[in-house]
C-alpha cells in the first residue's frame, strides 16, 4: 500500500544493501533495556558455564580476561528499528569459552544466556560457534560502559540485538530451546533480522 505523500529518505545502495527490511541507519548508539542499568563491580563479576542445572566452569574477571581475545567489526540490528554499521568489539569468542571449559562437542543444541539483572535470552548453539559470537568486553577500544552492558555482554550480531544479552553472567546448555525474557513476551524465538523475525509468528 503506497502511503500518500511519503517519499522517504533512501540510503545509498551500498548502505541500503546492509540494512535488513524495516531498519533505519543510526550513527549514535541507542540504549535499550527492560529495567534499570545494574552497576556490577569487577570484584563481584563472574561468568559461569552450565550444562542444564550443573555448573561446569566458572571464571572471575581476571581469569576471564586471560582467555584468548578476538576483535570483530560487525553490523548490529535492534528490533526497535535501528541498525548500526561497522561496530568494533573485543572479547572472547564463545568457541574459546567452550574450549577453555574442555567442551569439544556441545552437549546440547541450545543455549540460554543469563544476565546479572535476571534477563535471559535463548540462542541455538550453532549460532554461537564458528566465530559467530563472543562475550564482548570492550567496545570501540574502551571498556564496555554499564548502559551498553558492561562489564561484559553477549554479542550475536547476526540476530536482533536483544539476543546480545547485556550484563551477561553465564551461558547454560539446555535440552530444548527455552524461551528467554522477550521471547516469552511476544518476541520471536530466533530473531533473524534478514527474515524480519521480530515477533512470534513472523
Amino acid at each position: 500500500m503506497v502511503t500518500r505523500g511519503f517519499t522517504g529518505r533512501q540510503q545509498a545502495p551500498d548502505i541500503a544493501k546492509r540494512l535488513p527490511p524495516g531498519q533505519s541507519l543510526v550513527t549514535d548508539f541507542p540504549v535499550l533495556s527492560a529495567g534499570p542499568t545494574p552497576h556490577i563491580s569487577l570484584g563481584d563479576w563472574s561468568f559461569t558455564l552450565k550444562v542444564g542445572p550443573k555448573p561446569v566452569a566458572k571464571w572471575n574477571w581476571a581469569e576471564f580476561n586471560a582467555l584468548p581475545r578476538s576483535h570483530q567489526i560487525r553490523d548490529i540490528h535492534c528490533v526497535t528499528k535501528w541498525s548500526k554499521l561497522d561496530t568494533p568489539w573485543d572479547g572472547v569468542l564463545v568457541d574459546d569459552v567452550f574450549k577453555a571449559a574442555g567442551i569439544d562437542e556441545p552437549p546440547t543444541k541450545f543455549i540460554l544466556a543469563h544476565s546479572f539483572d535476571g534477563y535471559s535470552t535463548n540462542v541455538p548453539v550453532a549460532d554461537l560457534v564458528g566465530g559467530k559470537a563472543m562475550i564482548a568486553l570492550r567496545y570501540d577500544g574502551k571498556p564496555l560502559p554499564p548502559d551498553h552492558g558492561g562489564p561484559a555482554r553477549l554479542l550475536v550480531p547476526h540476530l536482533y540485538f536483544w539476543k546480545s544479552a547485556k550484563w551477561v553472567s553465564g551461558l547454560q546448555f539446555t535440552e530444548r530451546d527455552e524461551a528467554g525474557f522477550w521471547e516469552l513476551r511476544g518476541y520471536h524465538i530466533y530473531g533473524d533480522p534478514w527474515r524480519e523475525q521480530r515477533f512470534t509468528g513472523d
Binding site: G5, G8, L32, P36, T80, F181, G201
Partner: protein, 253 residues
C-alpha cells in the same frame, strides 16, 4: 525483571493492516496526536506500542514504533502522540504531510513488559521524560477510565511549560483528587505550581516524590530518553525501591 512470566498463550501473528487517520490534534509546538482507526481493531494493554509502516511509490518502506497514548477501553481508534524530529524521516511525514482521511499501515499490539493493568495495583510511580510520557498516559487514562483509586504519582520532565504534552488533561486528572498526584520537572523553565520543580530529575527529587505516596511504590515505570531514564531509575533505586520493581523503556539514543 522478576515479575511473573505471562501465562497467556503466545500472541497470534501480528499482521499489518490499514488504519485511517481519524483526527489530528496539536499537543505542543513539537508534538501532535494522531487518532488512528484500524480496519481490524485489536485489544491492547496500557503501555504497549504499535509498529507503523509507510511505503513510497517505488516500494521503499520505513517502519517506526510508537507507544499508544489512549486507554485500552477504547479500541475503535487509538491515539499516537508523535514528536517532530527535525532530522527524522517518519515524524516529519506525520507532522507536515499526513491529513485526516489518509491511510497508513500498522500492526500491534507489541510489548509484554512495560504494561500495567488496574488489577496489578499500586502504589504506582510513573516517571516520564518528554514524549516518554505517552505510554504512561495510557496507564493513567486506563486508571481513570475504570474509576480506580490506586495511588499513582507522575513525575513529568519537560523542557518548558509550553512543551508539556497533555498538559490540560493531566492538570484536570490532578484536580480530581482521586489518589493521582502530578509533579512537573521543567528543565529550562520556572516551575508553575508549588509541587513542581525547575530542574532535571535527580535522586533527591525522586526520594521526595516517593515520600508523597501513601506507601512504597510497587510498580515503577520509567520512559524517556536514555539520560532521563538513567537518572530517574538510579534515583528510584537510591530512594530505596528494589530494581526488580522498575521497568524502563528508552527512546532513541
Amino acid at each position: 525483571m522478576t515479575e511473573a512470566v505471562p501465562s497467556k498463550a503466545p500472541e497470534p501473528k501480528l499482521r499489518w493492516q490499514e488504519a485511517k487517520i481519524a483526527a489530528i490534534m496539536p499537543d505542543t509546538p513539537r508534538v501532535k496526536s494522531f487518532l488512528l482507526a484500524p480496519s481490524a481493531p485489536f485489544p491492547f494493554r496500557a503501555g504497549q506500542h504499535v509498529d507503523v509502516r509507510l511505503t513510497a511509490p517505488d516500494g521503499y518502506q520505513a517502519e517506526r514504533s510508537y507507544s499508544i497514548a489512549s486507554a485500552p477501553e477504547e479500541t475503535a481508534a487509538i491515539e499516537l502522540a508523535i514528536e517532530r524530529l527535525d532530522d527524522g524521516e517518519v515524524s516529519p511525514f506525520f507532522h507536515d504531510i499526513a491529513e485526516v482521511g489518509d491511510a497508513i499501515e500498522l500492526r500491534g499490539p507489541i510489548g509484554g513488559h512495560f504494561v500495567w493493568d488496574v488489577a496489578d495495583g499500586g502504589p504506582l510511580l510513573l516517571l516520564g521524560g518528554g514524549s516518554g510520557v505517552v505510554p504512561l498516559m495510557s496507564i493513567l487514562r486506563h486508571r481513570a477510565a475504570v474509576g480506580s483509586r490506586v495511588p499513582a504519582f507522575l513525575l513529568f520532565s519537560s523542557r518548558t511549560w509550553e512543551d508539556v504534552i497533555f498538559r490540560n488533561e493531566l492538570l484536570a486528572l490532578d484536580a480530581k483528587d482521586d489518589g493521582f498526584q502530578l509533579a512537573h520537572a521543567l528543565t529550562r523553565d520556572q516551575p508553575r505550581r508549588e509541587q513542581d520543580f525547575g530542574r532535571r530529575v535527580d535522586a533527591a527529587m525522586v526520594a521526595e516524590l516517593v515520600g508523597r505516596l501513601p506507601g512504597p511504590p510497587r510498580h515503577v515505570f520509567v520512559c524517556g530518553g536514555n539520560p532521563f531514564v538513567e537518572a530517574a531509575s538510579q534515583g528510584t533505586i537510591e530512594a530505596g525501591v528494589a530494581p526488580s520493581m522498575i521497568r524502563t523503556e528508552r527512546y532513541g539514543g
